[in-house]
Symmetry: C2
Subunit: 332 residues, 2 copies
Amino acid sequence: MTTKQIVLASRPKGKPVVENFETKNIELPQIKEEDILLEAMYFSVDPYMRGRMNDAKSYAPPFEVGKPITGGVVAKVIKSNVANFKENDMVTGNLPWQQHCIATAHGLLKIDTNIAPASYYLGILGMPGLTAYFGLIHIGKPKSGETVVVSGAAGAVGIVVGQIAKLNGCRVVGIAGSDEKVRLLKKEFGFDEVINYKTTTDIKKAIAEFCPDAVDIYYDNVGGEISDAVISNINFNARIVLCGQIALYNSTEIPMGPRLQPMLLTRSVLMQGFIIGNYQSRFPEGVSHLTTWIKEGKLKYKETIVKGFDKLPAALLGLFEGDNIGKMIVEA
Amino acid sequence: MTTKQIVLASRPKGKPVVENFETKNIELPQIKEEDILLEAMYFSVDPYMRGRMNDAKSYAPPFEVGKPITGGVVAKVIKSNVANFKENDMVTGNLPWQQHCIATAHGLLKIDTNIAPASYYLGILGMPGLTAYFGLIHIGKPKSGETVVVSGAAGAVGIVVGQIAKLNGCRVVGIAGSDEKVRLLKKEFGFDEVINYKTTTDIKKAIAEFCPDAVDIYYDNVGGEISDAVISNINFNARIVLCGQIALYNSTEIPMGPRLQPMLLTRSVLMQGFIIGNYQSRFPEGVSHLTTWIKEGKLKYKETIVKGFDKLPAALLGLFEGDNIGKMIVEA
């Protein structure tokens, strides 16, 4: 059968553009023994994919020019030569940007759409949710009464971090980039305060006002000057969870900023970079907590769903413009 | 009796000068019940004292203008109204810069000069030794075969860090500021390699050469560009122990440098600021290990002893010029 595929056409210099991608028609062969034919339903676009577009050493290998982009996908089984997977089963896995693809069972997970909508397995029940959970709980170690600041608060990870922090009895201050996001986070997601960094002239002062007892945990999704403002309000013995640096992903030179070490030293602060892969052996713990909270109605989620396979590159680029509220998903 | 005292005359702007200090003659009263009259033998001068000369919030309160500088002192008991302390007992404590002083038993520790020379209780068996021990063992968590880089390697803390890292089976690369220090650290203290940062034009490249498997633990005593060079060679899952930032202590503006978070994030690196006070409840563990290693001849130490009470300010300022090899001590 013929299907559509999106490949990396060229590596971006600085901010990526849609011309860095190319859509192709490809011919899929007949599936072999141990193969499964899948039809993609939902695609995940995530900030970390920007790093994979570079030819640089990182935790995830670079995408290859001329080869399809890969990422989190929810797909339906169309045909299967594997006993465990049947027609119409819904699965999730790391798959190519193709409308249809042939996969093996390796790395595919069946999902239960009675617990949550299928697309949630790319968000709150997938990598972003687990990233929020492990980063906040295992690195941040929130204690009741502490103040948690989360940047990128309206993003796929931040929106979960804030809610889990509230479930742990913390005061939660978010930082986001539009009045709509501010309103939503306060009204629907229980954030105590949210700062619109685009309309706030002195973010450092705003943090100081909203965090009178200083910042005990900073869950950082963005980096750059927003993080400088938070860290200048950091408390003694605070924890800084380095999850994302989206403000810097399109930098072509090494970004400069104030040296943090004197502050981290004199205040005995921990700063820990992490990727969710570090916690793979503990995923069941995270999934179990997240599922329970969702079932109990304690954890809510939000998605921005873009329709159309061809919109994948534009949706990915939109992450860097703050186009999404909650998880950015492309519906095939 | 009359005795000499050194007070903070004024707060420094940038690099301190001897004029920031003033030597006074003061009259000591008769000792009261529960008092002890002490004669100072050795004074500790330490980089952290620079911070206390500023009027800034930190882990240790600022020195007050017009009041004596205080710090680690080894002293002899001259007269005592406390049962536990007898004439000629040697003690250590946080005491004023005075040739004689009156203290209470609170915070005074008797020392055993059969284990090590009295001045060692201001160095390897005092705060610097404990700082080396807890920072390396409890934050760095060295594993056999790992590569440890220590800056300020010939200082009071660094010289101990390198030796404890060797005792833990690590490859140890030091950074120091003179050929004499380089020679000494390699020849007498067992460092595998030492970089003279004053004569090495490309420190980043030198670290890469001496650390072919990248840097697993960076024990940072200096900060600034030396630290940038080390961190650009940091390994995945590395630990950065923030102990000192002596290169920055005299800054009058917030120093700028490359933003570290993207590197710490993509390589899952931990950076932890600490002060030795955080480990107070575990001091016996540290003292016990250090004492055992010294008795067994596994840990050696080095001091730079300046003679004369009046030399205290100059000795403190000398720390920022790298005047010392090992612990800087002033003998009264």
